[in-house]
């Protein structure tokens, strides 16, 4: 069966994609690669070891990117001549003569960064936040004046990496073979499209911080702590990702950095790391004073020893390092947090309660992460950003808000499930099922499938509320995959057999029908089919017999394409969150408008069937409102989703949906109120007037029982059996045309005669002729 094949095909394709995804790491292939990798690994571990033994007065040591001081660079000294200074006689100090930072920058940093210290042992003092994991947003402005004062600091890859890079690139043919070192350098330097090389002066900055726990609480680092002095309880390692974008979000610059957060002074330094700039190892020397240096040296070397082991550094890491050094500007960032209005004790309690809730009463307004001042300095791109403020909620608080939102969402889903079950319970007869538009159900089901799949995917990312998300996914899946699917299968099965007016006929009938009618009527004048049903002279015969209309086939036919479309659109939706603002907004509005058009097909279906809406009022209203609530919430209220508010769209969608509802409501009075009767083919007439001439259609039994004696009379009565109740039917036969319409018997298109009551009762259950099983047009 083709449908089953398609279904399994989808599964195979997905399986194939999963199986062929590259797994594991790239292995070194050539001698040169292996040699470079060994050298790279060695240099990293050596530098790590050197960091552990470094003192503040000794400067940076032999670190990539830190060999020259700002002064050295300006005076044109070369890296090859390192070491240039002898720190034994004159200790290293934070000055452009020895330091990477120009004095303009370091003076500015010193003016705001880490100056207001608190005593962490004094619990009643107001303190800085301890855990600063969260997402912060703000506006930034480039300080072009200051960046004019400083020179760009060209950073170069170490020789062995550059050689390696050239060798692979020349092999690929990207760079011409004839290029020598000099031109290569120029080429490398000329890349302006570097990430972080901002072409706009102001824009939006999003900072997401992931703060690690104290070193003695981290199982990976714990084994590197041997003495009590190795414990650090006033500073933590942070992972900081910042995204600098312009207002329209066309250019996004995502830069990931590592750094140290000093909890006693609320100061945070973070730095990039790449093949040309060993930022992580250099960071301790950039912390402005010896005490900070000591603390950050300790935790950074512990962290690096715990996480990046020599044998774990792979080809991929090295390649990334190299690629990053070409594609990204290096950044040294200083952030200063605002002091909270909470004492140190309260802050600790709040942190504890947020992570492990025990019912402890904590203050309602939780502290926000506020960065008061910051300085982002890129030595190689010569960019300075300062005096910007960003703020945001702690990630635990965001998680709690998400949980509340999703709890509400779960309630909505459960209510919708109830409404569906109620509706399914109420519409069981074919008569009702044939009036339901399958497209309406398709759209509703598609919405639910999207929700189920999205939540399933998101649950793997959001592990803190995993259970809640999975519950939503499962409940939604049960609703759409089992109940709605079953309902839709029933509807489609019922409508498979049906023959009646179709859209095509409506469209055609407005022009072609009249011609057809005028041609056909003289020929077949007198037959019951044509006198009352001129539009479909040929079709009242049989619908093409459907051989396998069992549930499984219908189900497969819906499931396979539905599943594929849902997967594709889920990924499209998830992907769209990364698009630029205007695209994203348009996509969202168009998508939501289409998804909320679910009553329109039902409206047309009602018109087609000339029936009022088969759905319950409760279902129609409930579904509409339940499906509007999330749109209202996201567009009107401050949500944890970082979604722009958009009142106009809310108004539009409300009007749009209620317009559909009002159309459905008007159909209660006349389902075809908006359409001219003349455009439509008439429904099959079950109460035709039987003429003597037509009797041949009804078979020999009936014909033989005609009483010829009453020949002279205008009207004869024939008795025949009703196959349902086995009682007699009195059939009046007219010789001439009359206006009198008999109502007590019904004639099917296949010319079988039943009592009106009997057949109507039967038609509630099945639209098939009880005698010959041909399809029956609905009444």
């Amino acid at each position: 069966m083709p449908s089953v094949d398609r279904q399994s095909l989808v599964f195979f394709i997905i399986m194939f994609i999963f199986l062929t995804l590259p797994n594991g790491q790239d292995q070194p292939h050539s001698y040169q690669e292996r040699q470079t990798l060994t050298m790279f690994q060695k240099s990293i571990t050596e530098n790590q070891k050197a960091l552990a033994n470094r003192e503040y007065e000794q400067g940076y040591g032999n670190l990539t990117g830190f060999l020259l001081s700002y002064d050295d660079m300006k005076s044109g000294k070369k890296e090859e001549d390192w070491p240039l200074h002898n720190y034994k006689e004159t200790p290293w100090i934070e000055d452009e003569k020895y330091s990477l930072l120009p004095n303009v920058i370091s003076d500015k940093v010193k003016s705001f960064w880490g100056n207001d210290k608190v005593d962490l042992n004094n619990e009643n003092e107001l303190g800085y936040l301890f855990n600063i994991s969260g997402r912060l947003e703000g506006k930034f402005k480039k300080n072009n004046e200051r960046s004019k004062q400083i020179e760009k600091f060209p950073l170069k890859l170490p020789k062995y990496l550059r050689d390696y890079f050239e060798s692979i690139n020349s092999g690929d043919g990207i760079i011409d073979d004839g290029n020598n070192d000099g031109s290569n350098d120029r080429k490398v330097d000329e890349i302006i499209n570097k990430v972080g090389n901002l072409t706009f002066d102001e824009g939006k900055i999003v900072v997401s911080i992931k703060s690690m726990d104290y070193n003695y609480k981290n199982p990976e680092i714990l084994k590197h702590i041997k003495t009590p002095e190795d414990k650090v309880d006033d500073a933590v390692i942070v992972e900081l990702k910042m995204n600098l974008m312009d207002e329209s979000e066309t250019s996004k610059n995502e830069i990931s950095t590592y750094g140290v957060y000093f909890q006693d002074s609320g100061s945070l330094i973070s730095i990039t790391n790449s093949g040309k700039f060993a930022g992580h190892l250099g960071a301790p020397s950039l912390t402005m004073n010896e005490r900070n240096f000591g603390v950050s040296k300790k935790i950074i070397s512990q962290y690096l020893n715990g996480t990046s082991l020599e044998e774990q550094i792979s080809m991929d890491d090295m390649n990334n390092f190299i690629v990053q050094s070409f594609e990204q500007c290096e950044f040294i960032n200083y952030f200063q947090l605002e002091k909270t209005e909470f004492s140190i004790k309260e802050l600790k309690e709040i942190d504890e309660e947020l992570v492990n809730p025990s019912g402890k009463p904590i203050s309602k307004n939780k502290p926000k992460i506020k960065i008061n001042e910051m300085l982002l300095y890129s030595p190689d791109c010569g960019i300075v950003i300062e005096d910007s403020k960003v703020e945001g909620e702690k990630s635990e608080i965001v998680t709690i808000r998400f949980r509340h939102v999703f709890m509400g969402f779960l309630v909505i889903i459960v209510l919708q499930l109830y409404l569906f079950l109620d509706q399914i319970e109420k519409s069981k007869t074919p008569g009702q099922l044939s009036n339901i538009s399958s497209l309406t159900l398709y759209i509703l089901q598609y919405q639910d499938a999207l929700i189920a799949l999205t939540f399933l995917i998101v649950s793997t990312i959001f592990e803190k509320i995993y259970l809640l998300l999975v519950t939503i996914a499962i409940v939604t899946y049960i609703m759409c995959g089992i109940f709605e699917m079953g309902f839709l299968t029933q509807v489609i099965k019922t409508q498979m057999n049906e023959r009646g007016t179709s859209w095509w006929e409506i469209l055609r009938s407005s022009t072609a029908r009249n011609n057809e009618n005028s041609e056909s009527s003289p020929n077949e004048d007198g037959t019951p089919a044509t006198t009352d049903n001129p539009a479909t002279p040929a079709t009242p015969t049989q619908p093409t017999p459907i051989i396998d209309n069992d549930d499984a086939n219908v189900w497969n036919g819906i499931f396979a394409p539905g599943f594929a479309i849902t997967i594709i659109s889920t990924f499209l939706i998830l992907n769209s969150s990364m698009w630029r603002k205007s695209y994203r907004k348009t996509f969202e509005m168009v998508g939501l408008t289409l998804l909320n058009s679910y009553w329109i097909p039902q409206f047309f279906r009602n018109t087609l069937k000339n029936r009022k809406t088969p759905f319950d009022l409760k279902f129609v209203l409930g579904t509409t409102i339940l499906r509007l609530i999330p749109i209202y919430y996201v567009n009107l209220f401050p949500t944890p989703f970082n979604h722009e508010r958009n009142q106009n769209f809310v108004i539009f969608i409300t009007v749009y949906v209620f317009l559909q509802l009002s159309l459905l409501y008007l159909q209660n009075f006349n389902p075809r109120f908006w359409i001219n009767d003349k455009w439509l083919p008439k429904a099959y007439n079950y109460h035709p007037i039987i003429n003597l001439n037509d009797l041949e259609h009804y078979g020999s039994d009936l014909l033989s029982s005609v009483n010829i004696e009453s020949d002279d009379m205008d009207e004869t009565v024939i008795k025949t059996d009703c196959a349902i109740c086995m009682n007699d039917i009195n059939l009046p036969i007219f010789k001439n045309k009359t206006k009198k319409v008999p109502k007590d018997y019904m004639v099917t298109p296949c010319f079988h005669i039943f009592h009106s009551e009997c057949l109507e009762d039967w038609m509630k259950y099945k639209l098939q002729c009880p005698i010959c099983r041909n399809g029956l047009p609905p009444m």
Partner: protein
């Protein structure tokens, strides 16, 4: 599937059915919404420091681990015999009364017990002139949440009121070996049809160590008091019928209310139907009242029966008369 209880499924035991459903829903929601911490009870710091006295009411509502859930559910399922014995309304009232008594007594014993242990410690230290007394939390500080006390009390009721329907012996020695000699009693195990409940209850008793031991013992004590009719108010109090109906069938009540409102707005209705509805309600109310009266009378008659052993004569002086 073999039937594990004499009553098949939840036939005519609506209270048990609802209790099982509600406990399951609450437990699942507690787990999904990650609000387990709202159902724990500990004296220090939750009560002493934060004054969260509402925990005395909530801690019996939900269990917070899977094995507890399983054991309590199976026990509730077995105790549906008690619902048949008491009648649904009385059974629900009994559960409510037991939950109130258990909550309060557990709380009192936990707090007073902890105080007492601390006091004893202080007393010993001062009498021996030792320094260094500091307040400490004891094993009575926290208990496991869940309806463990209620189930313990019901366990006593079960043992007292539900008759044993059969007994069976498990021979631990070969019966054909020494056919002539009498079987010694030590080599056979006499079990009744209650044995599974004993096993399940014992598991529940020890499931959380001391944390489940304390509420279980208190529950057993209260159950004993109840069966010897020493628990004030427990014999006579009945939950109001409306509340009982809301508990048994909340949706029906909701539907009735909606219909009532709809009737108000929809204009006319057939008179017969209303009268029928009201009649039925009144009749059933009356019938229940009659049954209650009869029950009270019976208990009075039973109290007047002359044969009373000495112990019960003593106890009768403390017994409360249900009126």
């Amino acid at each position: 599937m073999p039937q594990i209880t004499p009553i098949k499924g939840f036939i005519n035991t609506p209270v048990t059915k609802k209790v099982v459903i509600f406990s399951t829903i609450i437990t699942i929601l507690v787990s999904i919404f990650q609000i387990k911490y709202l159902f724990t009870l500990s004296i220090d710091p939750l009560i002493l420091e934060y004054n969260q006295f509402w925990r005395i009411l909530t801690f019996q509502l939900s269990v917070i681990n899977e094995s507890d859930y399983l054991l309590t559910m199976i026990l509730w399922f077995h105790f549906k015999n008690l619902e048949r014995f008491y009648g649904s309304q009385k059974y629900l009232s009994l559960i409510l009364i037991l939950s109130i008594y258990n909550g309060v007594v557990t709380f009192l014993i936990m707090s007073l017990g902890q105080l007492l242990i601390n006091f004893i410690d202080y007393f010993i230290l001062t009498t021996f002139k030792l320094n260094g007394y500091t307040y400490f939390t004891t094993i009575l500080n926290s208990i496991v949440p869940g309806p463990i006390g209620i189930l313990s009390s019901l366990y006593i009721c079960f043992g007292t009121y539900i008759p044993i329907s059969y007994q069976f012996k498990i021979l631990l020695s070969n019966p054909f070996k020494n056919n002539q000699e009498n079987h010694s009693n030590s080599k056979e195990l006499l079990l009744t049809d209650h044995f599974q409940i004993h096993i399940l209850y014992t598991l529940l008793l020890f499931n959380n160590g001391f944390k489940s031991f304390v509420p279980s013992l208190i529950g057993l004590f209260i159950g004993k008091l109840y069966t010897s009719e020493l628990l004030p108010g427990s014999k006579s109090w009945l939950l109001p019928t409306t509340l009982f109906k809301i508990f048994i069938n909340p949706f029906k009540i909701l539907n009735n209310i909606i219909n009532l409102i709809r009737r108000r707005f929809n204009g006319y209705q057939s008179i017969n139907q209303i009268i029928d509805d009201e009649d039925q309600n009144e009749e059933s109310n009356e019938r229940e009242e009659i049954v209650d009266d009869m029950r009270n009378n019976e208990s009075e008659i039973r109290a007047e029966t002359p044969v009373r052993p000495l112990a019960s004569q003593f106890l009768d002086t403390f017994r409360t008369r249900g009126d």
